[in-house]
């Protein structure tokens, strides 16, 4: 029987010729990730398993990013616990605050060359699915899974079925990968891909840069998906040459592609030119509405950043729209470069100055407001347009606050206008 791209990666890691949907397998892992929220409970479990060491210190990544720089005593203690663990086992990929490679986990792992095509990756963070952009199988798990994987280097999976998103054409100017994924979640719903892979195929893939692919795969979980995945093409290889030169030179990757006759549970064809600028209204990512189809929604805050849209391309796009403009009076604009590398590049290109001149607050890399942790919490009744990935009740603060999810162009236009707006309104 033929297999999808995801199924092929899983079969290879399970040492099997063939896997079938629904099958339970044990698979070897190439990378295991934890953050400052999920690692402390995992450390307790790790101790309980009695493991003497981690399975491979070069294949574990521990990233303090959610409540960092530590927002209070409890988060400081969580981070201290993680730091001690990282030191004790001499973990190669532990990124301390301020270090050149630090930042939000899903921004830094690809940037630091840890994610390669064909890898099988789990992370105790639901947005681990981001790495499918590079042709890897990557999925989120819980802390107990993280602990057992750190000890054993393997875990169990149920082999998923897949939805084929067959893309053609090109996005219209100003429309981004974020609009595409919000549009898709609006179409299929927050459980539209439950337990399934979202595989992106078709001629339109070649027109999506890596930054868009990362954003799209990042939000696969918002449709309930187990993973999102893109085929490996020239864009992928060019990315690796820049961000993972050593592993690329060594050939430390495998290109898997779906069989011609792979069977999908459904195929959804999307002409990229038909994707509108899209905003997800509270309180679910599936409440997608096209710009121009709703009335005026006044807002109090705009956040640009997160693992969804905190990359260099997002910062450059934001600067394009904010240059020479001012944020609406009384509105707070918070810009958070996703990693120290992005931050430094923003400095070099003069983007920080553009943001500050526009009236933005620019923060050190952190998840911060994305999960309602710190650095921009909302009061009751406040509304925020955010380039983040979740708009659940209370996600960015008070349960009576509201989050509107959008791409960078809409976020910038909304910051300047003071209400949810498309970039056309800036002209």
């Amino acid at each position: 029987m033929s297999m999808t791209m995801t199924q092929k990666i899983l079969a290879a890691h399970a040492g099997l010729e063939q896997v079938n949907p629904g099958q339970l397998i044990e698979a070897k892992l190439d990378l295991v990730l934890g953050n400052d929220v999920t690692t402390p409970p995992a450390i307790k479990v790790f101790e309980e398993t009695g493991a003497a060491d981690v399975f491979d210190k070069s294949k574990v990544a521990l990233v303090p990013d959610h409540f960092t720089p530590n927002k209070d005593i409890k988060s400081a203690e969580h981070c201290a616990m993680m730091r001690t663990f990282a030191k004790r086992f001499d973990i190669d990929n532990y990124y301390e605050q301020g270090e050149a490679e630090m930042g939000i986990e899903h921004v830094v792992l690809p940037e630091n060359g840890l994610v390669m095509p064909g890898y099988a990756i789990i992370g105790a963070d639901s947005h681990t699915c981001t790495y499918g952009a590079l042709g890897a199988f990557a999925t989120g798990v819980g802390s107990t899974d993280l602990a057992c994987a750190m000890a054993a280097g393997q875990t169990w999976f149920r082999v998923p079925e897949a939805i084929n998103f067959k893309l053609s054409g090109q996005l219209k100017p100003g429309v981004t990968g974020k609009d595409l994924i919000l549009h898709i979640i609006g179409m299929i719903g927050v459980d539209g891909a439950l337990y399934q892979s979202m595989e992106f195929t078709g001629s339109g893939v070649a027109n999506l840069p890596m930054s868009d692919r990362l954003t799209i795969c990042n939000m696969a979980i918002e449709a309930g998906g187990k993973n999102g995945i893109f085929p490996v093409d020239q864009i992928t290889l060019d990315y690796l040459k820049v961000f993972a030169p050593e592993r690329y030179e060594r050939g430390d990757y495998t290109v898997f592609s779906a069989d011609e006759d792979a069977s999908y549970i459904r195929t959804i064809e999307i002409d990229l030119a038909s994707v509108p600028l899209t905003v997800a209204f509270p309180h679910l990512p599936e409440n997608a509405k096209a710009i121009g189809t709703f009335g005026r929604v006044d807002i109090d805050q705009v956040v640009i950043g997160s693992c969804t849209n905190g990359r260099m391309e997002d910062m450059r796009l934001a600067a394009d729209y904010l240059k020479g403009r001012k944020v609406s009076k009384g509105l707070r604009l918070i810009v958070i470069p996703g990693s120290q590398r992005v931050y430094r590049e923003c400095l070099r290109e003069g983007l920080i100055e553009i943001f500050v001149d526009a009236g933005a607050v620019v923060s050190a890399p952190t998840c911060g407001p994305c999960l309602g942790g710190h650095m921009g919490i909302l009061a009751a009744g406040e509304r925020c347009v955010a380039t983040t990935n979740r708009n659940f009740v209370g996600r960015m603060g008070h349960p009576k606050s509201e989050v509107y999810l959008a791409g960078v162009p809409v976020a910038c236009a909304s910051a300047v206008k003071g209400y949810v707006a498309g970039p056309d309104e800036l002209l």
Partner: protein
């Protein structure tokens, strides 16, 4: 293996942010987490819930973050079982690893009303509604999952082996 208690009924897509809001994630202590369980969807849940009670909800229960704190908070609040037509996949995995019983049963999730008295038999997968007199058949757990739940979670299960 049986459980008995009252139903707390909720809608579709109950997400991990309402099960345990992120603002409380700077602790991993089950009792502290339980004190805020469901508070953004049902302020009085914590005061009303009694050991053995069950959560009955719509499809895609537990969607959102991978936080294990969610099933931990539910379990520590005394809830014996969550019944829903479907569960978000990471929650499903975490619940089993934490030893929180969950049952996929669309008919039961639909028909049961808030406050109904329920008995669940994990061996047979039968859910009895003592208030209405109806019963429903859910898929019983495979043997290894029953053992994990009896061992209070994956770690207990592994260390027993």
């Amino acid at each position: 293996m049986n459980a008995q208690g009252k139903a707390f009924k909720y809608g579709a897509n109950v997400d991990t942010d309402v099960i345990i809001p992120a603002r409380y994630l700077n602790t991993a202590d089950p009792t502290e987490l339980a004190a805020h369980c469901m508070e953004d969807i049902d302020k009085s849940f914590v005061e009303r819930v009694k050991p053995g009670d069950m959560i009955v909800a719509g499809p895609n229960f537990g969607c959102g973050s991978s936080r294990e704190h969610a099933p931990v908070a539910i379990k520590a609040s005394g809830v014996s079982c969550v019944i829903a037509p479907s569960f978000a996949r990471i929650f499903y995995r975490n619940a089993i690893n934490m030893g929180l019983a969950i049952m996929e049963c669309p008919e039961a999730a639909e028909a049961i009303n808030d406050g109904d008295e329920l008995v669940v038999d994990f061996d047979s997968g039968v859910i009895k509604n003592l208030t209405s007199g109806s019963s429903y058949q859910a898929e019983p757990f495979p043997e290894f999952i029953k053992k994990i739940i009896e061992a209070d979670g994956l770690v207990g299960y592994i260390s027993k082996k």
